[in-house]
């Protein structure tokens, strides 16, 4: 029944200039807890309906940053983009926790050109040259989104998990590579380094194709921006939170959309 509503909702979402992304973006590592001399992980990056299946479009990884346990940046290897997914490998040369994240910070604009609505997306730099300043009905916005995951070789470490202070970020209280079914984990969400209170967080376990409902967990951040989740069972989980504010850096932009997504692996007891 509900399914018939989806196309209409999609059309509506696309026609709104700053609508939320309709699909789920994610980075999925082949495994999150590793050992050995220099183990490798391979990471899939995609935008899809189901978790974690490749059935919509690949995730663009132009702004991919892999932070090593010592805080340095390492390059992905064997990158390839196909019809449905982007894939790349990471060699874990150091023991400790790596953060793998795609952070997009872009400007959006919409205006009327010769009676036709026009939509534009680009960086702050291209905004100045590509968007006509006195276009009719010009609306400008900004979007900062972060899609990330974590992998650990050997003992978990904290250096790579330090927040950057820009946009919506997850600060782990419980280490993201130390999650077990039946146990409670605690995280904090913050915007530009300050606690993000009252935010809705949606958590969905993978393998949605093999069950009839999303079975999402919904939690809200408290005054300190913190939330807790007790993992009902083992699996790969997708976690998302969205918010918006008016702290824009793009000239003329009234609103800034902020998004955060993490893929977390919960192990069985």
């Amino acid at each position: 029944m509900k399914r018939s509503l989806i196309p209409a909702a999609l059309v509506l979402a696309l026609s709104l200039p700053f609508a939320a992304q309709a699909h789920k973006a994610w980075l999925q590592p082949s495994q999150t807890v590793l050992a050995g001399n220099t183990p490798w992980v391979t990471v899939d990056a995609a935008v899809s309906n189901d978790l974690f299946y490749f059935n919509h479009v690949p995730l663009k990884t132009d702004n991919l940053t892999i932070t090593a346990p010592d805080g340095s940046t390492v390059a992905p290897q064997n990158s390839a983009t196909g019809k449905y997914r982007t894939t790349f490998d990471v060699e874990l040369k150091q023991p400790g926790t790596y953060r793998i994240g795609v952070v997009n910070n872009y400007a959006t604009a919409s205006w009327d050109e010769n009676g036709q609505p026009k939509r534009w997306r680009g960086t702050e730099a291209t905004f100045a040259t590509e968007v006509p300043k006195n276009a009719k009905n010009l609306q400008v916005g900004q979007s900062v989104s972060r899609v990330e995951t974590f992998v650990t070789s050997g003992s978990p470490s904290e250096t790579a998990l330090k927040p950057s202070g820009v946009g919506l970020e997850l600060v782990p209280v419980t280490h993201p590579n130390d999650l077990f079914a039946g146990e409670e984990a605690k995280f904090r969400l913050q915007v530009d380094g300050k606690p993000a209170s009252g935010l809705d967080v949606e958590i969905v376990r993978g393998n949605t194709r093999y069950r009839n409902a999303q079975d999402e967990l919904k939690v809200k951040t408290d005054a300190k921006g913190e939330f807790t989740v007790t993992w009902p069972e083992a699996g790969m989980y997708w976690l998302e939170a969205n918010t918006q504010d008016n702290k824009t850096t793009v000239p003329g932009a009234k609103q800034r959309r902020l998004g955060y997504v993490a893929t977390l692996e919960v192990l069985p007891q």
Binding site: V33, L34, A35, G36, P39, D178, L267
Partner: protein, 169 residues
Amino acid sequence: MRVKMTIVLSGLLALPAYSAELNVNVQIPQLNVAEYHRPYVAIWVEGADQKAVANLAVWYAQKATNEGAGTKWLPDLRQWWRRSGRTLKVPVDGVTGPTRPVGQHALRFTDSHPELGKLPAGEYTLVVEAAREVGGRELLKIPFTWRGAGGGKAQGSSELGTVTLNTKS
């Protein structure tokens, strides 16, 4: 046979020095599967807070590879990895060793064990975890009193057989 004699003899000779003893017998069952690999096994002692206080044995594939022998698969011993393995630098003398075949494996630990020997008398739990390549994983726990006399038993159902424990003080 000769090996056994030596162990018995050395045990006898050193007897006065030992005030506490922990005997563990671990059975690795015969499995009728298409592809069999010897299990990785970790045997350790936990305190009341589930913290690992003494590693007794870790058996994993020792053959040299560029991945660091079989250490790549050590996290499959999930609970051991979490409680102790991931902060441990293997190999550890007297603790780590090669995988063992199907059968009964008798292990004896005394006050001379570097970690167990330092443990104060009290209640602990012996944990035996086994994980097998293309197989399953099983974990057994037996509570016991260190520096006391007693025994315990746990029965595995898949990757482990019978595990028995007895202590002497």
